[in-house]
């Protein structure tokens, strides 16, 4: 379907045969409006972690693209994601960032919905509606919900593949992220509070940066000159004092055609634990034990050390600081970033405290590292807007033709593409998926059957 004024994405704004991408993908209002129709309603979007709603009745407000949603656990323990929007006139039925409630009442005309989304109260049902309103048809609009190891995603599209199909071969790398430090699967716990802030740039700058931009490391020279790592030495990563780092290459991993990306390192065989938290015995013991347990559990696979990545389209996971950061679109020229941080639930309090201090100094608006990232994105975004500047596409050519399918180590996961060291392979995979979705408008408006959803 290509009507007048429609934009050509595949081979047009995104020309991956040549590795060229138009600046318009970041700044054009029409591109942005297409994204709101073609990318977000068809993708699984991250809404939160189960530990944010541990008890029946718990809810938090989350966000899918530009819209507010309620992420709750109903009184029976089931997770839901509802559009936070009254079916009568659209007002938010929940206006608190978190709480515990089995009812959501709209302040405007007092329609009341329960924790399963059903419309349960309509004032003047007799005298004004003459009992002619079928309440079963007017429940809250509910998204599909899937909890993957406690990380909760939602999707508006009934026709989209299920979540596990949709993450594809990212599974190995997202599983690695979901593992506790000791290599087992267990409970993570989100710290209270969600970082929420605005960045004056398109939402894709953050997604692209976290997908695999090792090339931008020089922009972090100032933080690498001070002590950020809890190891108490110069550098920003917990592993910056680990000499083995020099023995290994950085890895860029992309999952095609889903467009997901991951980053990591492969350590030498039988690499040894290096003391990192010597000044805090409890913390040092914890991480040493975790190292030993992970080595024996995972064997050779313990050599893989994940850094993070971006799950298409707009959530980036970071290992080490264990965060999930969503790049919410807020107009073509603004991103609202929401980020949570997690710790192993059963870790000693001392460990949680060390990690808490570390993560809030690393990422986010008060984080020593991301402050410089946001300066880069905002300035690059501004530089993408000029009449003359827009005539010149950006090169995403780095490492083109040097990608390798699969791994030299066959136990490393799945049918992925891997490039060692610094490459723009991951960005190309990300934008290829983006262009695929953008090229194909939905064929019909996709309305959720809210009566069925409420059953």
């Amino acid at each position: 379907m290509s009507g007048a004024g429609s934009i050509r994405y595949k081979g047009g704004l995104v020309n991956l045969d040549k590795g060229m991408i138009s600046r318009d993908i970041f700044t054009s209002q029409q591109v942005y409006e297409d994204e709101l129709e073609r990318i977000f309603p068809r993708s699984w979007l991250f809404v939160g972690h189960e530990s944010q709603v541990p008890e029946p009745g718990d809810y938090i407000l989350a966000r899918m693209a530009e819209e507010s949603v309620i992420f709750n656990r109903d009184r029976h323990g089931k997770l839901h994601v509802f559009l936070n929007n009254c079916r009568h006139r659209g007002m938010r039925v929940c206006r608190y960032d978190k709480g515990n409630s089995t009812k959501f009442a709209c302040p405007f005309h007092a329609w009341v919905f329960n924790d399963e989304g059903a419309l349960v109260g309509v004032p003047k049902m007799d005298s004004a509606y003459h009992n002619e309103l079928d309440k079963s048809q007017w429940g809250l609009i509910e998204a599909r919900v899937y909890s993957y190891r406690g990380y909760v995603f939602a999707c508006w599209d009934e026709a989209a593949p299920d979540f596990e199909t949709s993450i594809g071969d990212l599974r190995f790398y997202f599983d690695d992220y979901c593992e506790l430090p000791d290599g087992t699967y267990g409970d993570w716990e989100a710290f209270g509070g969600i970082f929420k802030w605005r960045v004056p740039c398109n939402w894709k700058w953050g997604a692209e940066n976290f997908s695999g931009d090792y090339y931008h490391n020089p922009s972090h020279a100032s933080v690498d000159a001070v002590v950020l790592s809890p190891a108490g030495v110069k550098g920003r990563h917990t592993y910056d004092n680990i000499t083995r780092k020099r023995e290994v290459e950085l890895l860029n991993i992309c999952v095609w055609p889903e467009g997901h990306t991951a980053r990591g390192q492969l350590f030498a065989e039988n690499y040894e634990y290096l003391p990192t938290y010597q000044e805090m015995a409890v913390v040092e013991d914890y991480f040493r034990d975790c190292y030993n347990k992970r080595q024996s559990l995972r064997g050779e696979k313990a050599r893989f050390f994940g850094h993070g990545g971006t799950i298409f389209p707009n959530v980036s996971f970071s290992n080490g600081v264990q965060s999930m950061g969503s790049w919410h679109p807020n107009g073509p020229n603004e991103t609202q970033v929401w980020r949570i941080f997690l710790v192993p639930k059963e870790a000693p309090d001392e460990v949680k405290d060390v990690l808490r201090h570390y993560v809030i100094r690393y990422q986010g608006p008060s984080g020593l590292t991301e402050q410089d990232d946001m300066e880069n994105w905002g300035s690059a975004h501004e530089g993408s807007r000029g009449t003359i500047a827009r005539r010149y596409d950006y090169p995403y050519t780095m490492g083109m033709g040097h990608e390798s399918k699969g791994w030299s180590e066959e136990w490393l996961g799945g049918e992925v593409y891997v490039t060692e060291n610094v490459s723009e392979q991951n960005q190309r995979a990300y934008y290829e998926r983006w262009a695929d979705l953008m090229e194909h408008p939905p064929t019909a408006p996709q309305l959720r059957d809210t009566a069925a959803a409420a059953e």
């Binding site: 206006r95 608190y96 960032d97 978190k98 709480g99 710290f191 209270g192 509070g193 969600i194 970082f195 929420k196 802030w197 605005r198 960045v199 004056p200 922009s219 020279a221 100032s222 933080v223 000159a225 001070v226 002590v227 950020l228 609202q336 949570i340 941080f341 405290d353 808490r356 201090h357 809030i360 100094r361 986010g364 608006p365 008060s366 020593l368 402050q371 410089d372 946001m374 300066e375 880069n376 905002g378």
Partner: protein, 178 residues
Amino acid sequence: MDGAPNQSLMDALLLRYEVEQFFNHEAELLDSRQFEAWLDLLAEDIRYWMPLTRNQEFGKWQDQHTRAGKDLNWFDEGKFELEQRVKQIMTGLHWAEEPVSRTCHMVSNLQVDDGGDGTVETRCRFLVYRNRTETETDFFVGKRHDTLRRDADGFKIAAREIYLDQSVLLAKNLTIFF
């Protein structure tokens, strides 16, 4: 009435004057980017804390701020961590502060309570204006609760609680000091 000044009122005025002078001096150091001198005003064991702020339902308004020591906060640091922030800025390579921010720190509505044990509890409102590059402008407005400790040189800031009245942070970063 013999016209003699009320001694306790005079003491309170004097203390308030001292605290005002101290905060004005501090603002001067920050706005003139004398960050190392500013660090000297902080006690070695300072706790510098800015919680997140959330929208809470009626009756739970007291939970609007995330908890110190447990939850996410915009800042929850001691002197060592603040020193690292200053060092980062002083590299000249901290791009979020290059070109540098122009700031005006304003403090008002000062309330002062003499703790009697060498400490002074203060509450105030702050307004920090920031402008940088060409049009980048932020207003940070909120409430501050400082604990000052008297020593031979005057005051040291022993604790600073900063309540920024924003739930979604409206600025893209917090590279400045409050």
